[in-house]
């Protein structure tokens, strides 16, 4: 039986190679019309200097809405499986993350290094995450990047056991996530009522900050992505006691 399986695997890989490798190795010239158009018009159409942010929050905001929906569905599915797993083995040691205090004297190499350093670094990384989120329209960064950094900061705060803050409570984080998804839907529909189309800019007045819609969308997406990934990671580490 092993020879038959090997032949099947080789035939499948050869078939995939026949279909895919000519596409990867082909040498056509890359077209430049899109780059020239965006170079001239991106700043006046959306108000953002970062062209990549102008694309996925201005011209193609529908893709961002779909991606947020995929993130929501996958985190909900993972949490549903995790909660069921946690109920089956509530008395095993594998769900707790840090070593229990009564085991510490016998395990020489486990010191307090991780908890101390992580709890001191957590607020600094949180501040950096908010900075990357808010300045996404003029420098590299934006909603997703800042959101993932905020999620890492919340995981740091959950690892350090010195301070019990509301930020590591899974109930609070899931409320923030649901609220920001609702605000995203409202912000996308509001363009219809202000005669600029679905996902259009409803505040197109001549104010000094012409990129306000992009800043608002960055904040909403950053909060949503950050809190949903943080809820998933904290539930994996076994810290969701009040869910």
């Amino acid at each position: 039986m092993k020879k038959l399986e090997l032949i099947k695997i080789v035939i499948t890989v050869l078939l995939c190679a026949l279909l895919v490798v000519p596409i990867i190795l082909s040498n056509h010239s890359w077209p430049t019309q899109a780059r020239d158009y965006l170079f001239d018009n991106a700043r006046s159409d959306t108000g953002a200097t970062n062209t990549v942010s102008a694309i996925y929050l201005g011209y193609r905001a529908m893709d961002t809405l779909g991606e947020t929906l995929v993130l929501l569905v996958s985190v909900t599915g993972t949490m549903a499986i995790l909660v069921k797993l946690g109920k089956e083995q509530s008395d095993e040691e594998a769900t707790s993350f840090s070593l229990a205090p009564e085991k510490r004297p016998t395990n020489r190499l486990r010191t307090h290094l991780l908890e101390t350093v992580a709890s001191k670094l957590g607020p600094i990384v949180l501040l950096f995450g908010f900075y990357v989120m808010l300045y996404g329209h003029i420098s590299p960064g934006g909603g997703f990047q800042g959101g993932v950094i905020v999620a890492s900061a919340i995981v740091f705060l959950a690892l350090g056991t010195e301070v019990k803050s509301k930020l590591t409570n899974t109930l609070v984080l899931s409320r923030i996530e649901a609220l920001s998804f609702l605000v995203l839907i409202l912000a996308s529909i509001s363009g219809v009522f202000f005669e600029s189309g679905f996902f259009g800019n409803p505040i197109k007045s001549a104010s000094s900050l012409s990129a306000n819609f992009i800043i608002l969308l960055n904040i909403i997406i950053g909060l949503k992505v950050g809190t949903s990934i943080a809820v998933m990671c904290i539930a994996m580490m076994g810290g969701s006691h009040d869910h």
Binding site: A94, P140, G141, V148, M236
Partner: protein, 79 residues
Amino acid sequence: MNMLLLSLILALGIYALLSRDLLHSVIALSAISMLSALLFTILRAPDVAITEAAVGAGVSTVIFVWAIRHTQRRDKEES
């Protein structure tokens, strides 16, 4: 420079698939994400580099380590 980084990424990828210990493969995947982020910075794509570094070396590694912790770490049978 691009060729050197790409060949390192390929070597780490093949090591990640053939190693016996699953935790070594997870560290190799995290190193692939870091080298990819460096390559994206060289190719003038700073947004993608920040996202790949934060997601690949942060969140993805945590999820893999959780999965290995709750199952087994070594291959009991043949791969």
